[in-house]
């Protein structure tokens, strides 16, 4: 569950990134956040992860009151969500298996559970046969699937994808979105920031459109943009 109530964010240089944003995303939803570069998508995600503080407003993620959350509790907020980036952010000197296992290790998962969970995740994203490969030996789509497996490793209830298909060709992009849809069907809330119009239009999911930091549209079964 994600709730933003009257959230504004002005950076110290004066840039207004978000202006009085109100969003409520229920558990189990699949939501696209669309908008041009600089519309505030990245800021929104940073606020959810408490990488940035809002200038005003209330943010609730799962059971965490994000704004008043103490520094030392931030890791527990982040464990309740998984995140996928446009540039994958895999560790180049670790294998596919190690990259996923690493995310579990750093939250203190017992080795036994890691050995059980990692192969399961890799088979889910269809990379069981590439477990011993290094990221540079994989295609972009495969790398993004590793990053997805990593994001899911600690069973988050929310998956946040920040332009996950931005670096991929259209066909590979669809594979990733289908995977995200599978994840969503298992009950995980998925929030995907994107400007891939075909994907948004093809999926017929809830669309929240941002423009200059303001929510200009929020509709079920929406499309990227109406023609004028």
């Amino acid at each position: 569950m994600i709730l933003l109530s009257h959230v504004s964010k002005t950076y110290s240089n004066g840039t207004v990134a978000l202006n009085d944003v109100n969003i409520y995303i229920e558990k189990g939803e699949f939501v696209f956040i669309v908008g041009a570069s600089g519309a505030g998508k990245s800021t929104l995600i940073k606020l959810l992860m408490k990488e940035e503080e809002p200038s005003e407003g209330i943010i609730v993620v799962n059971d965490f009151d994000v704004v008043s959350l103490r520094r030392k509790d931030i890791p527990y907020l982040r464990r309740s969500m998984g995140i996928v980036f446009q540039d994958f952010r895999l560790l180049p000197n670790k294998t596919v298996y190690e990259n996923v296992a690493f995310a579990m290790k750093v939250v203190g998962a017992p080795p036994k559970e890691i050995r059980r969970q990692v192969p399961f995740l890799l088979s889910m994203v269809g990379l069981s046969n590439k477990a011993r490969h290094y990221p540079h030996q994989l295609s972009g789509g495969e790398q993004q699937r590793v990053s997805l497996a990593r994001a899911l490793s600690n069973n988050p209830s929310i998956l946040i994808a920040d332009e996950p298909t931005g670096n991929l060709d259209p066909e590979t992009a669809w594979d990733i979105v289908k995977l995200l849809n599978d994840v969503n069907k298992r009950g995980t809330t998925v929030v995907m920031a994107t400007h891939a119009r075909e994907i948004v239009d093809g999926m017929k999911k809830r669309v929240i459109a941002l423009e200059k930091g303001v929510v200009v549209r929020d509709e079920q079964k929406g499309v990227y943009k109406y023609e004028n």
Binding site: M49, R71, K72, P75, Y76, L77, R78, R79, G82, I83, R89, L91, F102, A103, K105, V106, V107, G108, P110, P111, R150, A151, S153, N154
Partner: protein
Amino acid sequence: MRISTIRYYIKEGFTSIWTNRMMTLASIGIVIACLIIFGMFILFSSNLNYIGDQVKDQWEIKAFVDENVPDGQLDRIRLEIKKIQYVKECILETEEQALENYKKQLGEDSYVLEGFEQFNPLRNSFIIHLSDVQYAEQVVQELKKVNGIVKVNNHRETIEKILKITEFVRMGSFWVMVLLAFIAVFIISNTIKLTVFARRREISIMKYVGATDWFIRWPFIIEGMIIGLIGGILSLAVVCYAYDYIVNLLHHSISFFKIRQLSEVFEGMAIILISFGACIGTLGSLLSIRKYLRV
């Protein structure tokens, strides 16, 4: 904390050291240099203290008794001296004993004193040891007031000089040590900074997946600690080897003072240097973490 987690910290610490080996070597070198100088100062000041103590122990005030005072009064004088504050011991040296000692000191030349037994020119005296050398002057003044005492010998200035030097070296070594520790901490923190920089990608991923601050910090602390420990052990070896060499060298030339043997100081040195090294290392990484690891 899980054992697998602790193993992870230690493994990561060593991995960093290896990845960053040139800088690690440089910082170990600096730690060694600092600790060697530190160790030398400790040994030097410990020996000065030791010698100072010996001087204090050997040092005595001599109070001479008037020739006209009959021997029967010696006991009374002794008791009066004993009553003076800070007097620890008061031993009578009769004129005969004084002559004997004098002869002993002259050794082969003692024949010049032959015949003096009948007309002993020396006086009865009391050899006085103090419980605290600091109050020598006060005691001397009191001694002069005792009926029958004509002269008091006091080497106060010599003692004070030695005590002053000891104190000076002690303070000096303390400040040198503080300065060196600062340098070492600074250099280690720089090394750790490089590791943090080299691993920034890993650290940012760790933050995103929800690693706690301390989970991210521990490997760096262990890295600094290992650098400090290695520096401590190596400097201990160098200091001990050099000290043993110097002691053997001095053994033949200095006979009036005793110098501490290596075996006497080894344990203390080991504890001080190794734990000091580990502290410097840990401090260095903590500093670096605070400055460069914004988690």
